[in-house]
């Protein structure tokens, strides 16, 4: 069965639905399933005129789905719509969704959260702390325009590529882009972590030494000695601790409690500050 030809209006309808609702109804059980199905309905109504056929597709599109809705997600949506228009079976389109949502979520999370947002939000925050109102405004503009453009572009690019997109993904181009993004992200995080995480100790070690018969009181700052070993040693250690605990499978909220105890007791007792 060859599906009906989709019009520009159908595509725009799906695009707006994805834009406004993709994560609405997000639940532990099937995550983004409701938003996904809502986006696909205008398409399915066109491609599946038979009521029973439509009902089956309606139900199938409520299966588990979760990915990064900004980078990666729209590629899946566009390709799925193209396959649907070409009359692909539900097995094929489900395979596309399940096969791509994991890897593309990894790409999106790295590119957006680790790289792009870290940069725009830290710059905006530093400006805001100086009392500069342009800080948050700049950050907002760098959200509004690129986040819209990148979703629009991926959605329609991948629709035009259709089944081709999967071949493109297989060709390694996306793999190379991911690798490059990951490397940039790692370098940036390596620099960001010590610039943002701050931990210092005011402790001093005071001792009396006798030099040529005279008693001199020497004060040795622990912090200066730590800096001589390696700058930002304490921030590196505490970041390493957080990473280690998360890697062990701790959830973020438990890790925060540990950080709160260290920071609060350390600060209140004067060990850190």
């Amino acid at each position: 069965m060859a599906g009906a030809k989709l019009t520009r209006a159908d595509l725009m309808s799906a695009f707006w639905r994805h834009l406004f609702m993709i994560q609405c109804g997000w639940n532990y059980e099937r995550m983004q399933n409701c938003g996904y199905c809502y986006m696909m309905l205008p398409i399915l109504k066109k491609t599946r005129p038979d009521p029973e056929d439509f009902k089956e597709a309606f139900q199938t599109n409520l299966n588990f789905f979760n990915t990064n809705p900004f980078v990666g997600g729209p590629l899946i949506f566009g390709a799925h719509i193209a396959l649907e228009e070409a009359g692909a079976s539900l097995e094929t389109t489900e395979g596309l969704k399940v096969g791509l949502m994991g890897p593309l979520a990894g790409v999106g999370d790295t590119l957006l959260w680790a790289l792009y947002n870290s940069i725009i939000f830290s710059i905006g925050s530093v400006m805001a702390l100086q009392g500069n109102i342009l800080g948050p405004i700049l950050t907002w503009l760098l959200v509004l325009i690129p986040y819209f453009a990148v979703r629009y572009w991926q959605f329609f690019w991948s629709y035009r590529q259709g089944a081709n997109m999967i071949a493109q993904l297989g060709s390694g181009a996306i793999g190379r882009l991911t690798e490059a993004a990951t490397l940039v992200g790692l370098i940036v995080v390596g620099g960001f972590a010590p610039s943002i995480v701050s931990l210092k100790t005011p402790l001093k070690w005071v001792r009396d030494v006798t030099i040529r018969g005279e008693t001199v009181t020497q004060t040795i700052s622990i912090q200066e000695n730590l800096d001589a070993i390696m700058p930002y040693l304490l921030p590196v250690l505490v970041t390493g601790l957080a990473y280690y605990l998360l890697k062990k499978g701790w959830n973020p909220v438990r890790v925060i409690v540990v950080l709160l105890v260290i920071g609060f007791l350390g600060g209140a007792l004067g060990i850190f500050g």
């Binding site: 993709i22 609405c24 938003g35 199905c37 960001f192 995480v197 909220v253 920071g263």
Partner: protein, 247 residues
């Protein structure tokens, strides 16, 4: 007056959540922009920016990867801005952190309760009821999530003044408490970086992380400079790596 402001800020919290679920025109679930928006609404942009930016730097890199629950700095920033306006920045911030942590419990509850939508959707699909499903999506699918943040903000703003006064008096009487909080604020970003590192292949490419650290800690290069250098290094790495294949 408190009730009106509670409704306004509660509505802003609701929008911040909805913005994350859908359009992301503002990305106001990030504390910088949640606080900035709250600052505009309460008429104290400076406090909004200070509270929002401080929480933003604490929560840099903290995102809900795969739907994990994280501290709710969004609500923290809104409440911190509101109470910071009258009681000062320090008190606002000191309230924001516990509020952010308390709300994590609400987040888990809300994500759980949303199963209602998945199950109702199944029913609509079985009946082929497109209209019913679409009505549920447009009108209700964001309500549990939105209220889970909007309601606590409303209650805290409308009725929390007495409690906040007591807390603020306690802070003034106990300076050590503030010292503890400020050190905590300094190390909380470690969580965000830990989470970022966890989703990145650190063990496969440790040298790149080290390079970034050296550029900042020893060479004192500003962050945008590090980002540009990082792009250069990644391009060089790939040119060398794939040269053999392309030649």
């Amino acid at each position: 007056m408190n009730i009106v402001m509670g409704l306004i800020l509660g509505a802003w919290a609701y929008y911040c959540v909805y913005d994350m679920l859908g359009p992301t025109f503002v990305m106001s679930f990030r504390p910088l922009l949640a606080g900035f928006g709250a600052g505009i609404l309460v008429g104290d942009i400076q406090t909004g920016m200070q509270v929002g930016a401080t929480l933003e730097l604490m929560g840099l890199g903290v995102y809900t990867y795969g739907g994990a629950t994280i501290p709710d700095y969004t609500v923290g920033a809104i409440l911190g801005t509101y109470f910071g306006k009258t009681h000062g920045f320090e008190t606002g911030l000191a309230l924001a952190i516990p509020a952010a942590l308390l709300l994590t419990q609400v987040d888990i509850l809300n994500r759980f309760l949303n199963f209602i939508f998945a199950h109702r959707a199944d029913r609509y699909a079985a009946e082929g009821d497109v209209k019913g499903f679409e009505r549920m999506m447009v009108l209700f699918s964001h309500v549990i999530w939105g209220l889970s943040r909007g309601l606590p903000v409303f209650l805290a703003v409308a009725f929390g003044e007495g409690l906040v006064k007591a807390v603020s008096a306690f802070f003034e009487a106990n300076p050590w408490f503030n010292k503890g909080l400020s050190v905590t604020g300094g190390i909380l970003p470690a969580l965000g970086f830990g989470m970022l590192l966890k989703i990145m292949p650190v063990e496969k490419y440790p040298a790149f992380l080290l390079l970034g650290f050296v550029l900042y800690a020893y060479l004192k290069i500003p962050l945008v400079g590090i980002a540009l250098a990082a792009i250069a290094v990644a391009l060089i790495y790939q040119q060398l790596k794939y040269r053999a294949k392309e030649a």
